[in-house]
């Protein structure tokens, strides 16, 4: 197995790991968004969906564990690459011409990733902990109410929207970058992949950002 770990530790192996875990997270976000959109169905639908997930708790726990491992690999590997890549240029340029030869999404992956990580911690604290580790409303299966209360706070909602937009920066580069890393880049279909990535990103950003906005301004339809 030595060859396998050596391959995974090579520069190409590391970016492969980044891409595989990234694609898993891209797919997870689709499921996450579909779940979130049930909030638009009102308290009854959302509470029923979450209650049903309670029914298959052991399976949910396994999926969550896999997700945690994927997140850790993605974050750990990303930080490691960032440190190594900094070392590859000990003395930087006085004048930085990067804006002339690359886009802002690709250059800011570490920054957007770091902010998303902070957001992730806050996000898990607000929702996952409330849903799973005891909250008076969760005990009564009033999950919708928990979401409504969290997004009733304008500062929280605005920060949430900002984080989702930065997530969009991260996804827009990550999507096409994963295909490039897997070697799936050719003249015919790469322009389509880039457009698909942009469409995916726009759907994700609008989808996720719409929820705090909906709750903040319309209080989930309960004005």
């Amino acid at each position: 197995m030595g060859w396998f770990f050596r391959a995974l530790n090579s520069s190409i192996g590391k970016k492969f790991l980044m891409a595989v875990t990234g694609v898993c997270l891209l797919l997870f976000l689709i499921i996450h968004l579909i779940n979130n959109l049930t909030l638009y169905g009102g308290p009854e639908l959302f509470d029923t969906v979450v209650k049903n997930l309670e029914g298959i708790k052991p399976l949910v726990r396994v999926v969550e564990l896999v997700l945690v491992i994927i997140f850790i690999l993605h974050i750990f590997n990303g930080v490691r690459l960032w440190i190594e890549n900094k070392k590859a240029r000990p003395v930087g340029y006085k004048i930085n011409g990067a804006s002339e030869n690359s886009d802002v999404f690709s250059r800011t992956m570490f920054v957007t990733g770091s902010i998303i990580f902070i957001f992730l911690v806050v996000h898990i604290r607000t929702f996952w902990v409330s849903f799973n580790l005891g909250h008076p409303l969760a005990d009564e299966h009033q999950y919708y109410q928990i979401v409504a209360e969290a997004f009733g706070d304008p500062i929280y909602s605005i920060l949430y929207v900002v984080a989702v937009i930065l997530l969009g920066f991260h996804l827009n580069h990550g999507f096409q970058s994963a295909f490039q890393t897997f070697g799936w880049n050719n003249k015919k279909y790469f322009p389509i992949i880039e457009k698909l990535g942009l469409i995916y990103t726009i759907i994700m950003v609008i989808g996720f950002a719409s929820i705090p906005i909906y709750f903040l301004f319309f209080y989930g339809g309960n004005l």
Partner: protein
């Protein structure tokens, strides 16, 4: 002559690899817009020599865009502000009278500075030595067209082979990654029949050497392609990745 320019140059000067470097300001006067960037530096150096001062060391050789020696980062961009040219192909008409121009060497751990703007690009040679070749026994001249190659394959190979090994990709990359260079040198053989016998060994050895030499990892910013004087496509990097995965999966050499 009218239209000639006076310019302020901020040039990185460093006595040797271990010395502390810094920017030194020079003023050049009466520069013709028709002169090349390197000719402008020649004029500066002649003035410095007349004054008995140490001329600015910079690399140059063919001065027609094929050797890749002229490694200058001009105002933050390898080979200056224009696309798909080397520094020697850059002319002063692209600058304005009174401009301040910052001139820096390629910056990468794997390209240590020798003096001023001259860097040591031996690491590229080491990557080539690791596998960027085909082993051919000597003998009679083979028949032309004995090996059939599709037009598409030869175009892909020669496009990759257009790489002059200047290192602008490394200089432009925010990670100082040599991925575009290595991908071009792997691709030029990977798509041709002559490259097949050493195909798996080549890509693994070259990537290994690239990593050992302290180049960074690729994060797909594509700055390399944008700054490449020969327009080498990042699709070569995708091919390099494919070649690497294939070699790892198919080759039975567990030592590589």
């Amino acid at each position: 002559m009218s239209g000639n320019m006076n310019l302020t140059l901020k040039i990185w000067r460093q006595a040797n690899a271990n010395a502390v470097g810094g920017f030194v300001t020079f003023n050049v006067k009466n520069i013709s817009p028709d002169s090349s960037f390197l000719e402008m530096l020649d004029i500066l150096n002649e003035e410095l020599e007349v004054k008995g001062l140490d001329p600015v060391a910079f690399e140059h050789d063919c001065r027609e865009g094929i050797c890749g020696a002229c490694s200058l980062v001009i105002n933050g961009r390898p080979h200056g502000p224009l696309d798909k040219i080397t520094t020697c192909q850059l002319h002063m008409r692209h600058f304005k009278d009174g401009d301040t121009i910052w001139i820096e060497p390629w910056r990468a751990k794997a390209f240590p500075i020798i003096k001023d703007l001259v860097v040591d690009r031996t690491s590229f040679d080491k990557i080539i030595q690791a596998g960027g070749f085909i082993s051919v026994d000597t003998g009679g001249v083979p028949d032309a067209n004995a090996i059939l190659i599709s037009k598409e394959a030869i175009e892909t190979a020669t496009d990759a082979a257009a790489c002059i090994g200047c290192g602008a990709c490394v200089a432009a990359c925010k990670n100082a990654s040599a991925m575009l260079f290595v991908s071009a040198k792997v691709s030029q053989f990977a798509v041709l029949p002559q490259g097949q016998p050493e195909r798996y060994q080549r890509v693994q050895a070259m990537v290994k050497k690239m990593d050992e030499l302290g180049f960074g990892s690729c994060t797909n910013t594509y700055a390399c392609e944008a700054e490449c004087p020969k327009g080498i496509s990042v699709r070569n990097i995708a091919r390099l990745n494919r070649e690497y995965f294939n070699a790892k999966l198919k080759s039975e050499n567990v030592e590589a």
